[in-house]
């Protein structure tokens, strides 16, 4: 029997919300590589998470994930600073599934709406995160560790899933 998923319902809802998402991996020559994601999808059993990336902006990261399978992803809600980092060691790069491109569109609009009250024009989020359907790549992994990174004394503490 496999271990229960690390993502509890609350964390799952959080990462699917209007959060800023960035992913990192280990690139060639032992250098860290980094790209911004345009939303994500979580499997029904919450065992695996898939990040939406623009190939045109994430080539080095995608290559690194293919080579090392190591990934770290950070999710942060600008209005509350609540931040979570997930790490995985079995990442793979795949093609989008049905509905993924539409999910990117919904995510970009939700994130733009999150930023507007903070004084950032929606055009900023759209320019930053919008991608063409043909440009969409999906990096998925099983979270093997999760950490709270909300600024403050508890930053860096491992997240334990609620029962």
């Amino acid at each position: 029997m496999s271990a229960p998923p690390l993502l509890d319902e609350s964390t799952c809802a959080f990462v699917l919300g209007a959060v800023s998402i960035s992913a990192a991996s280990r690139g060639a020559g032992g250098l860290p590589v980094l790209a911004r994601a345009s939303g994500c999808r979580v499997a029904a059993d919450r065992g695996r998470i898939a990040l939406y990336l623009a190939r045109s902006k994430s080539g080095v990261l995608i290559d690194a994930v293919r080579a090392t399978r190591a990934v770290a992803a950070v999710f942060s809600l600008p209005s509350s600073h609540r931040t979570v980092q997930l790490k995985g060691a079995d990442a793979s790069v795949g093609a989008p599934a049905a509905g993924d491109f539409e999910a990117v569109g919904r995510y970009v609009e939700a994130f733009a709406a999150e930023l507007e009250p903070l004084g950032y024009h929606g055009a900023l989020a759209r320019a930053l995160l919008w991608l063409d359907e043909s440009d969409l790549a999906v990096v998925s992994f099983t979270p093997s560790s999760a950490f709270s990174q909300t600024p403050g004394p508890g930053a860096g503490a491992p997240l334990r899933p609620a029962p």
Binding site: S76, R126, P151
Partner: protein, 445 residues
């Protein structure tokens, strides 16, 4: 054109948090947010170190980091390849970042959570522009053209008072910075006093702040520009000044008798030291009720302007002190009427005209010498040189900016006294004009 860090400084204002990726010793990636990526020079940036976290642990083990930054005006995205060099926990860079972080923390509701432990200095190994759509950048003021115009105006100034007023006029008329002041250090260097201001209901000339207090005091202490882009209570003056005055006893309550001018709703602040070589001549302070009014480019422009002001001030001072003219022997005709009592307390040099506080310290001592000479010999013509040689004034040292003290005295008189004024009569020379009789009462220490 190769990308340089100078050309993407808008990304380093902290408007949009940056993201940093690092690798643990075993190669496991880590990704987190960083509040501040601070521009140092064309080859270096500093990251704010606020918490002992995985990023910190990783860069100590493996110094390579990748940081993603975003231009808040255009959404242009860049990735910086960095190499960790060292951490600074005090000094100019640390103080610049500490002030800036206080503004960011206040603006994002993180006051009390964000605290700068250190400035992690990184070498910039490469910059990559990430492909993507961008929004058009709004046009902005051409600061180089503004700087040129102001430079030309400053070099035409003939005395220090005129130079400082012209500097403030330039900032207002050419840079669109309507609230500004210049403060100079007193001889001992523990305080700064205001000698010129523009854009406030009361000039505040003569008001003082302790060294190290607010952005002005920190800029003076560290000899470095301090800039805040959002309102923060960490760098306000009122309370700190009152606390300092109270701690030093009643005598120093005089410090608070002239309120410091300043915007109540100041959101952006920039203090730039004005230096001549190693010596601090003063601090230029500008502020705005708008968030993020002053960026890196504004800071550069004002540093250049302050540098030029310092050079012109030094030339004017040297010229003034080289004058060796004997004051005209003509005696002034004393006016008639009831004498007004003027009290001078030797203990702190404070001077009261009637019951109204005028000035203290060295400027007070200068004022009394003038009144004494006038009373004794009806002398009204004076030179800077004789003041410097006068033992009763006790100028702190030969390099003391006597001219700044005379500006302070003449401006306080203009604001507070209807019958006494100081008029410049030439380089290093001035006249005391007396329109009513006075009686100088000297109270020994």
């Amino acid at each position: 054109m190769t990308l340089s860090i100078d050309s993407i400084r808008d990304c380093l204002e902290g408007a949009i948090p940056a993201v940093v990726a690092t690798l643990a010793a075993d190669g496991t990636p880590n990704v987190s947010y960083v509040s501040q990526v601070y521009y140092i020079d064309g080859g270096h940036v500093a990251l704010s170190f606020q918490f002992f976290n995985k990023t910190r642990e990783n860069v100590l083990a493996n110094p390579r980091a990748t940081v993603a930054v975003i231009d808040p005006r255009t959404a242009a995205q860049y990735r910086l390849a960095l190499e960790y060099l060292r951490t600074e926990t005090e000094g100019p860079l640390f103080e610049r970042m500490k002030a800036k972080l206080a503004g960011i923390a206040s603006h994002t509701g993180m006051s009390g959570v964000f605290r700068l432990r250190g400035s992690d200095v990184y070498r910039v190994c490469g910059i990559e522009r990430v492909a993507g759509r961008e929004t058009p950048a709004p046009p902005r003021r051409n600061l180089l053209a503004a700087l040129r115009s102001c430079s030309e105006r400053l070099t035409r100034c003939a005395d220090l008072g005129g130079l400082l007023d012209e500097l403030l006029a330039c900032l207002d008329e050419v840079f669109g910075i309507g609230h500004a002041m210049v403060l100079v250090p007193d001889g001992a260097g523990a305080r700064l006093y205001t000698v010129a201001s523009r854009g406030y209901p009361a000039s505040g000339v003569g008001s003082e702040i302790p060294l190290g207090c607010g952005v002005i005091g920190v800029a003076a202490r560290e000899r470095t520009p301090i800039r805040i882009s959002h309102m923060t209570s960490d760098y306000t003056y009122g309370q700190a000044i009152r606390e300092r005055a109270a701690a030093e006893g009643m005598g120093d309550m005089l410090e608070t008798m002239i309120p410091l001018p300043g915007l109540a709703d100041s959101r952006s602040q920039l203090a730039v030291p004005v230096t001549a070589g190693e010596r601090l001549l003063g601090v230029l302070y500008v502020e705005s009720a708008d968030d993020m009014r002053f960026g890196y480019d504004d800071e550069d422009a004002l540093v250049a302007l302050a540098t030029q002001t310092g050079m012109v001030a030094r030339l004017l001072q040297e010229a003034a002190e080289s004058q060796d003219e004997v004051p005209a022997a003509a005696r002034a005709t004393p006016p008639g009427g009831t004498p007004v009592p003027i009290r001078h307390y030797a203990a702190d040099g404070s001077v009261f005209i009637g019951d109204d506080y005028l000035i203290k310290g060295v400027a007070g001592a200068i004022f009394c010498k003038l009144l004494r000479d006038y009373g004794r010999e009806q002398r009204s013509e004076f030179t800077n040189r004789e003041l410097r040689l006068d033992a009763s004034i006790r100028l702190p040292d030969v390099s003391d900016n006597l001219e700044a003290r005379l500006i302070l005295l003449s401006r306080r008189l203009a604001e507070r006294c209807e019958f006494l004024r100081i008029e410049k009569t030439g380089r290093g020379r001035f006249r005391l004009v007396v329109a009513r009789p006075f009686k100088l009462v000297e109270l020994p220490a």
